[in-house]
Symmetry: C2
Subunit: 281 residues, 2 copies
């Protein structure tokens, strides 16, 4: 396994690999790897000659009051985990490599970026699409892997790739959960033990909502009320949003007539968690 | 020479060419080709195995009151000229190919896009950077060629390519002029014979400005006054802007102490023309 910190050196190395016909799988991450990331790496390992991950806590996707500074970082730990998952190349750039002085260029996916988490975190997805476009140009993958946990992010990246004609296949892989159902996230480490218990309500409320839909409830408001009620019962929980949306357009669905995505963001204490569940009809 | 109208087919064909080691030169155009475009194609022919041009009048770079509808189009004529310049592939997509229903993604270079022509044509350069990013992803060139006539466009494309780490070299080639000095442009065909005569003042005023700088004038205001005076003497001319700027940042220079770019946009009747001249100190 090789680590690159310099963009031009990695780009040159990748071009060399592509010239000899190697296929490239890519997983962009912010590090502090967990089983969710590792599942993407193992999938990439299966489907490509070379698996590349990036580890970069991207400053431009964090708001001024968000957790950029305290976001967990542990490169040595990540390095071992990546190696164990069969990764060939880690790209681990500095902020100055990615955003040198005088940086001016941004990629934006309209509409999709302003809904849901985009409404709560203005500019967040513009930061995500910009860094992913850069990483795609650097790594030039055949296939890029994203987790369904960040469902809106995955949908926006798919849309960007398709709209801008990037010659890259975007694969979205299932959410990996702890054995008790909590969706894996690097941010779970922020939780106190009480918060960790309360956080289980996210997945439980989603499953209860799915059960209601499966038993025939079709009015989104009824289902959202139930989710709100279940989550609000936890003292440390404060709902950011709970929505039932079309999986493609991410716009709200009032009456459930086909497959939908139930998606939510909830503050547990000072930690903002997200989760979602697709319900196929 | 082959013409492609379908994005996926061209992309597949190009990937095949790259797999067998061919280098790709690319010239994006809006068609109605003139000697300026052809000089870029001949340069590409010299430096690459395969030369690709695109012909696409890009709707999203025109303002609602601009000349999108009347912009000259003549594919048969362009096809012959491209062939004579040694072009191997013409990409000639429909609007629906490039911007299918539900299109949402845009590329933007801040600051540089709001100056000069960007101030007069809001959204213009966002349209340019978006379409060029798409074309770069479709054609995947090693080298892309742009004309210095559109100096701001060339600078913005260079900045986008660099900022977004696109693995593409951007070459900016000299302005090609008619024998009487008028910079070649597809829009010159809009000019009446009186306007065609008056339009010569753009290049003449630029040369007079260069002469003043070479004789030691250092105050930009003095030089701009002279240009304004010369151009305003023509009845059909109305100045949009005349500026002396830094060639990299495109910001105004008050006192000329190093190489500068004199750049202007002038309405000749109902036709907006641009021109520029670099002065090296």
């Amino acid at each position: 396994m090789q680590t690159f910190r310099n963009i031009k050196k990695l780009q040159k190395f990748i071009i060399g690999l592509k010239k000899i016909g190697k296929t490239i799988g890519f997983i962009p991450t912010m590090g502090y790897l967990h089983e969710g990331h590792l599942s993407l790496m193992r999938q990439s390992k299966k489907e490509n000659n070379i698996s590349v991950i990036s580890i970069f806590v991207n400053p431009i996707q964090f708001g001024p009051k968000e957790d950029f500074k305290k976001y967990p970082r542990d490169f040595k730990r990540d390095e071992k985990l990546a190696k164990s998952a069969g990764v060939d190349i880690i790209f681990y750039p500095s902020i100055e490599q990615m955003y040198p002085a005088g940086y001016l260029s941004y990629v934006e996916v309209e509409k999709l970026s302003n809904l849901l988490c985009g409404a709560s975190r203005p500019g967040h997805f513009r930061g995500v699409t910009t860094v992913v476009a850069k990483l795609f140009n650097i790594v030039q993958p055949d296939i890029a892997y994203f987790g369904q946990k960040d469902a809106q992010q995955a949908r926006i990246i798919q849309k960007m790739t398709q709209d801008l004609n990037m010659p890259i296949k975007v694969k979205v892989m299932p959410i990996i959960r702890e054995s008790d159902g909590l969706a894996m996230s690097s941010r779970n480490m922020y939780l106190s033990s009480q918060e960790r218990k309360d956080a289980l309500i996210l997945n439980r409320a989603l499953k209860e909502a799915r059960r209601l839909i499966k038993t025939g409830v079709r009015d989104s408001r009824t289902i959202i009320s139930t989710i709100n009620y279940l989550i609000s019962a936890k003292h440390t929980a404060k709902i950011d949003y709970v929505k039932i949306v079309d999986p493609q357009t991410l716009t709200e669905v009032k009456k459930i007539e086909k497959s939908v995505l139930i998606i939510l963001a909830v503050w547990i204490g000072k930690t903002r968690l997200i989760d979602n569940l697709a319900v196929n009809l």
